[in-house]
Symmetry: C2
Subunit: 262 residues, 2 copies
DNA sequence: CCCTGTGAAATTGTTCACAGCA
DNA sequence: TGCTGTGAACAATTTCACAGGG
């Protein structure tokens, strides 16, 4: 992902599959809920249901962490909460800076899920001088001139970018230069970072587009596909006439359910 | 994903791999940028770099859509923008409702990426009567009592949930009952929906936890793993003594780099 | 006998490498 | 000659199904 950074070259460390890592927080949340309800143990079936996955997958995932269950019984909730937390590194404190305190940055600053799981908002940073000193979610906003100093002083290694797309790469570069090695990017841009820096992206518009794709499919299945099969293709194909693409393989409707609107 | 809904039972439709669908918006964004700069054509190499993927993957992805490139030349930017937009269903208008107008909901309402790509914010809905009528991002907030009416009148099929976790399932149920078939969920809960309804989740805290995992790994590689290998496990393991898990397989440090702190 | 842990099979996704067209 | 399109090799992930401990 990101741009640099292949996978995890040498040092495959322990080798917990990435897909499993991505689900651990899900399990942890479900377990936390059970813990609050003082449920002592869960079966893989129950926990899987609560986390929205299937039980075989859950058991396989847990098998990468070790044998933490009891056959015939299930998993001890408290113990598992601890093990997963430790595996995820949540038993330690992670100071985080949020850069770009617009609506989104403010929402993130006030998001309970941050504080609850070992993450501490060390600083809110914004380039607008008018924001400086203004408290957001109880934390005073600092000016971006001090970014490097703040990161160094607090030993911040995780940065959240909630700025406009235009400045995201510049902010990213400064964060990385100052020592940040993990970035959560909300700006709709591809960030390029040196090897060793992790970037995760959250992109609202992409998620919606994926939904639209499936939504369109649903509509096309019920009826016989309609919704403007092709109003008017903006530019014609590359060079030559449309011949190639039209007959070449798929084209606008290669093998859709095909019913022909009218 | 979600809770119900297996994969896409019968009607495999055209069969564009899910992983490819998830990348199409990425390509589209890169292409749009090129289009704005009036670049006429791109090679798979260039486009891949702009989208942050490798070129073989990009070509393979495009091959599922059809043969839209020209050998020896590359892809026509405008034409490809159109083809991908159509494939994603962005050539039609998608009215969207956002439920829960807190900081996050407001950020979403004002997010440019929504309006720009065929998505139209049809309504903002909140349960707080004090919010009703108040304009957010230029759109007046409506009360959740009218949710069903709004959805029916505007023919909304995509809903965004930005409410507190506690009410997310209830909101989801109402949306689905009213006819919404795609949901983008920002609340930290697993939503359960009937078959045929798609749910995508965006979870800030999960992303951070994944970053923390990798961050921890990095720290553990440089030094010889430290950071409190296990301060004090909260509850002991299930029943019996720790024997099983400790010697059984992995336990707290099964095969970590192992250097022993002190 | 219930429920975990896990090999092995099935599926999905990625990368390679090159044939072939413009 | 340059770059797409794609079979085939490879890798990751999911699912099955069942051995085996409590």
């Amino acid at each position: 992902m990101a741009t640099g950074r292949t996978h995890r070259p040498a040092t495959r460390s322990r080798g917990i599959p990435e897909a499993t890592v991505a689900r651990l927080p899900l399990y942890l949340r479900a377990l936390t809920t059970l813990s609050e309800r003082s449920v002592p143990t869960v079966s893989s079936e129950e926990l899987a249901a609560a986390a929205g996955v299937n039980s075989a997958k859950l058991r396989k995932d847990f098998s990468y962490l070790g044998s933490y269950g009891t056959r015939g019984v299930g998993y001890d909730v408290e113990y598992l909460v601890y093990q997963i937390s430790r595996e995820l590194g949540l038993t330690q404190d992670w100071p985080v800076v949020i850069v770009g305190i617009g609506n989104l940055g403010a929402a993130l600053a006030g998001y309970g899920g941050f504080a609850s799981r070992g993450f501490r908002v060390a600083a809110l940073i914004d380039a607008d001088p008018a924001m400086t000193g203004k408290p957001v979610a109880g934390i005073p906003v600092q000016h971006s001139d001090d970014l490097e100093k703040i990161i160094a002083e607090d030993g911040v290694s995780i940065g959240v970018i909630a700025t406009p797309a235009g400045v995201a790469q510049a902010v990213c570069d400064r964060l990385v230069a100052a020592g940040v090695t993990s970035i959560l990017n909300f700006a709709p841009t591809v960030l390029s970072v040196p090897d060793g820096v992790d970037v995760r992206k959250v992109d609202l518009s992409i998620e919606l587009q994926i939904l639209a794709f499936h939504e369109q499919r649903k509509a096309g299945e019920e009826l016989g596909e309609e919704a403007a099969p092709q109003a008017a293709a903006p530019a014609a194909p590359p060079a030559a006439t449309r011949t190639t693409a039209e007959g070449g393989r798929k084209g606008p409707d290669g093998d859709v359910p095909a019913v022909m609107p009218a």
